[in-house]
C-alpha cells in the first residue's frame, strides 16, 4: 500500500464524498448490493473474520468473532453504533461521520445484514447535535434511494437506521452503559456475562461496534479480506485513524497503516514539537492508558495492538496526546483524574470513591498544604482501586497516575517538597 492511500478518510481525496451522488459515483453501496444479493449472512461474517479487522473503539477485539457470538435463532436482533466518541484526544469518528458519512452508513447496513438485524441505532454523543441532524438527513436520502426500508435489492433483508443522542456522559462509550442509556436509563455498565451478543438492547442479541470499525466494512467487502490483510501488520491488519493532539505542530487526524511508528506520526506527519521544545511523554490512548516516556525505543515502537504492551502501554482508541518537556506530569495526572472523577458513573465503589480520593490527594499536592508522603499515598490509593472495578473506566483512571508516579516520580516529588 502506498503511504497516501486512504481507506477511511477518502473524503480528503474525493471532494463532496458526503453527497450521495458522489459516493455512488465512487462505487458506493456496490459492496452492500453484492453482499446482500450473493452472500449469506454467515458468509459475510466469515469475510470479516478472515480480514482480521479488530474493533477500533479501544479494545481491539476481532470484529467478525464478536458477531459470531450472537445467540442463534433469537430475533429480533439489533445493531448499535457506538458514536459516543468522548475519550480525551479522540476526534476521528467525528471526522468520518461529518465528511464520509455514507461509508459509515453502508458499513452499518453490511453489519446488520451479517447480524440478521433489521434495526440499527447510531448512539451519538449529545454534543454532536449538528452532526446528528446531518446524519439523519443522509439516512433520509438513503431511504429515498432504496438503500433503506423493506426488502432491499428485492431480497428479504429490511433495514431501518435511527440516530439516538446521548446527553454528556463519557461512560456511555462503554458498550453496556451505552445500551442502558439507549433504553432510557442511567448510563451505568451492566455485569457481564451476559455480553450484548447474547443479551443486549432490550435483552435481545445485539452487535455494538464503533464508527471507525464499521467504516472499514465497505472497503473490506469491496476489495476482499486478502487485500485488507496486505495493509498493517499480521495481527493488526488495516489502517487506523490516529488522532494527534497536544504539543505538536500539526494536530489532526492521520490515517496510517497499523504498525506505523510513533516517530513517523509525530515528527513526519505532525511536524514535531513546536517552540524549540523536546518531546517528553506520550499518552497513546487518550487518558485511558499508561503514560509513556518518549524514549528513542518508544518513538520507534509500531503503533498496533500487539506492540504497545511491550513498552508498557496500550493502543486503545489511538488518540495520541503529545507532551513536551515544559509540562509537569503531576499536572497531567491531575487533569486526567479530574476527568475520570467527573465521569465516574457511581455504580461501583472502587471507582466512585477511588477517583474522589485520588483527586483529593492530587489537589493537595498541587495546592498545598501537604505534609509529605502524599506521592506514596496517591500511589497506594491508585493500586487499591486496580483490578476491582466493574468496568474499564475505573481501571483506566489509575493508569496515568500509577505510570506517572512510576515513570516521572520527580515531577510529583517536586510538589511534595514545595508543600506549604
Amino acid at each position: 500500500m502506498g503511504k497516501t492511500e486512504r481507506v477511511l478518510l477518502r473524503h480528503r481525496d474525493i471532494p463532496d464524498l458526503d453527497r450521495l451522488d458522489t459516493y455512488l459515483a465512487h462505487g458506493g453501496f456496490a459492496a452492500l448490493r453484492r453482499t446482500v444479493t450473493t452472500k449469506s449472512p454467515q458468509e459475510a461474517i466469515d469475510v470479516v473474520k478472515t480480514s482480521g479487522l479488530r474493533g477500533r473503539g479501544g479494545a481491539g477485539f476481532p470484529t467478525g468473532v464478536k458477531w459470531s457470538f450472537l445467540t442463534p435463532d433469537v430475533f429480533p436482533r439489533y445493531v448499535v453504533v457506538n458514536a459516543d466518541e468522548s475519550e480525551p484526544g479522540t476526534f476521528k469518528d467525528r471526522e468520518i461521520m461529518e465528511r464520509n458519512p455514507f461509508q459509515l452508513l453502508e458499513g452499518v447496513a453490511l453489519c446488520a445484514y451479517a447480524a440478521r438485524a433489521s434495526t440499527a441505532y447510531i448512539y451519538c454523543r449529545g454534543e454532536f447535535w449538528d452532526l446528528a441532524a446531518e446524519l439523519e438527513a443522509r439516512i433520509g436520502e438513503m431511504r429515498a434511494r432504496g438503500f433503506l426500508g423493506r426488502n432491499l435489492f428485492d431480497t428479504d433483508f429490511s433495514l431501518e437506521i435511527f440516530v439516538h443522542l446521548g446527553a454528556g456522559a463519557y461512560i456511555c462509550g462503554e458498550e453496556t452503559a451505552l445500551l442502558e442509556s439507549l433504553e432510557g436509563k442511567l448510563g451505568q455498565p451492566r455485569l457481564r456475562p451476559p455480553f450484548p451478543a447474547a443479551k443486549g438492547l432490550y435483552g435481545l442479541p445485539t452487535v455494538v461496534n464503533n464508527v471507525e470499525t464499521l467504516a472499514n466494512l465497505p472497503p473490506i467487502f469491496e476489495r476482499g479480506a486478502d487485500w485488507y490483510r496486505t495493509i498493517g501488520t499480521k495481527d493488526s491488519p488495516g489502517t487506523k485513524v490516529f488522532s494527534l493532539s497536544g504539543n505538536v505542530a500539526r494536530p489532526g487526524n492521520y490515517e496510517l497503516p497499523l504498525g506505523t511508528p510513533f516517530r513517523t506520526l509525530i515528527f513526519e506527519h505532525g511536524g514535531g514539537i513546536p517552540g524549540g521544545k523536546k518531546i517528553k511523554a506520550i499518552l497513546p490512548a487518550g487518558a485511558s492508558a499508561p503514560i509513556l516516556v518518549a524514549t528513542e525505543e518508544v518513538l520507534d515502537t509500531p503503533m498496533d495492538y500487539e506492540s504497545l504492551p511491550n513498552v508498557g502501554s496500550m493502543l486503545g482508541s489511538a488518540s495520541i496526546i503529545v507532551i513536551d518537556d515544559s509540562v509537569d506530569i503531576a499536572w497531567v495526572a491531575l487533569k486526567t483524574t479530574r476527568f475520570f472523577k467527573h465521569e465516574s458513573c457511581g455504580k461501583c465503589t472502587p471507582c466512585r470513591e477511588g477517583t474522589y480520593w485520588m483527586l483529593q490527594v492530587l489537589e493537595r499536592l498541587h495546592d498545598g498544604p501537604n505534609a509529605g508522603g502524599q506521592v506514596d499515598l496517591l500511589h497506594a490509593v491508585a493500586r487499591g482501586i486496580e483490578g476491582k472495578c466493574l468496568c474499564p473506566l475505573g481501571e483506566f483512571a489509575i493508569m496515568p497516575v500509577t505510570s506517572g508516579i512510576e515513570r516521572f516520580r520527580a515531577d510529583f516529588a517536586a510538589h511534595e517538597s514545595n508543600g506549604r
Binding site: 475519550e87 449538528d130 446527553a167
Partner: protein, 175 residues
C-alpha cells in the same frame, strides 16, 4: 423566550408531531427509550428541566418521575435549574489545556466579569467548563448550548470569543 406554564400538557400540545416521530423510532413497549430525546425537547421549550417538566415527560412515557428525574443529574447536558439563555461551554480537558484552553477560559471570564459556572449580569450567557468535546485539534474551542441545540465554535481566540458574545447580545437585543 416567553415564560410558559410548565406541565399541563404544554409540551405534548406544542410538540405533538416531534413527540410522535421520536416515539416511532423505538419498538412497541420500549417507550422509555424516548426519554432522552423528550428531555431535550422539554429543555428547549422551558429553558431548564424543573419538576413539572420531569412529570410531564414521565406522563408521556408512562414511567415514574423518579426514573426521569434521575437522568438529569447524571447527564451533563440537562440542567435542573435556570441558567443564561445561552451556555458557553469551554473545553479545558487535557488536550485543549495543552493548547492554552485554561488561559483562554480565564481570560474570557475576566472579560465578561464572571467566574466559571456563573452567568453574565444581563442573564444571557452562563460560562462553564466541560470535558473533552472531540475538538482537540482545533483548541481552544467551546460549544454553545441554547434553545436550538448545541453548536461548536473551534479554533478560538479571546478576541473571536468576545466577538461571538457581542453577536449573541445583538441577536437577543441586549447590545
Amino acid at each position: 423566550m416567553t415564560a410558559l406554564a410548565v406541565g399541563q400538557g404544554v409540551l405534548r400540545e406544542q410538540r405533538a408531531a416531534e413527540i410522535d416521530a421520536i416515539l416511532a423510532r423505538y419498538p412497541e413497549g420500549e417507550r422509555r427509550s424516548a426519554v432522552m430525546p423528550l428531555l431535550y425537547l422539554a429543555q428547549h421549550l422551558y429553558g431548564h428541566l424543573g419538576q413539572a417538566a420531569v412529570e410531564e415527560v414521565a406522563g408521556i412515557l408512562g414511567i415514574s418521575s423518579t426514573q426521569v428525574g434521575s437522568l438529569i443529574g447524571f447527564y451533563s447536558l440537562y440542567h435542573d435549574r435556570p441558567g443564561g439563555k445561552v451556555r458557553m461551554q469551554i473545553c479545558t480537558d487535557l488536550p485543549c489545556a495543552l493548547r492554552g484552553a485554561e488561559a483562554f477560559a480565564r481570560d474570557v471570564c475576566r472579560n465578561l466579569g464572571v467566574r466559571l459556572g456563573e452567568t453574565t449580569p444581563d442573564g444571557l450567557i452562563t460560562v462553564e467548563e466541560v470535558t473533552c468535546l472531540a475538538g482537540c485539534d482545533r483548541a481552544p474551542m467551546f460549544q454553545v448550548q441554547d434553545e436550538t441545540g448545541i453548536h461548536y465554535r473551534e479554533g478560538q481566540t479571546v478576541e473571536t470569543a468576545l466577538a461571538w458574545v457581542d453577536e449573541v447580545r445583538r441577536s437577543y437585543g441586549q447590545d
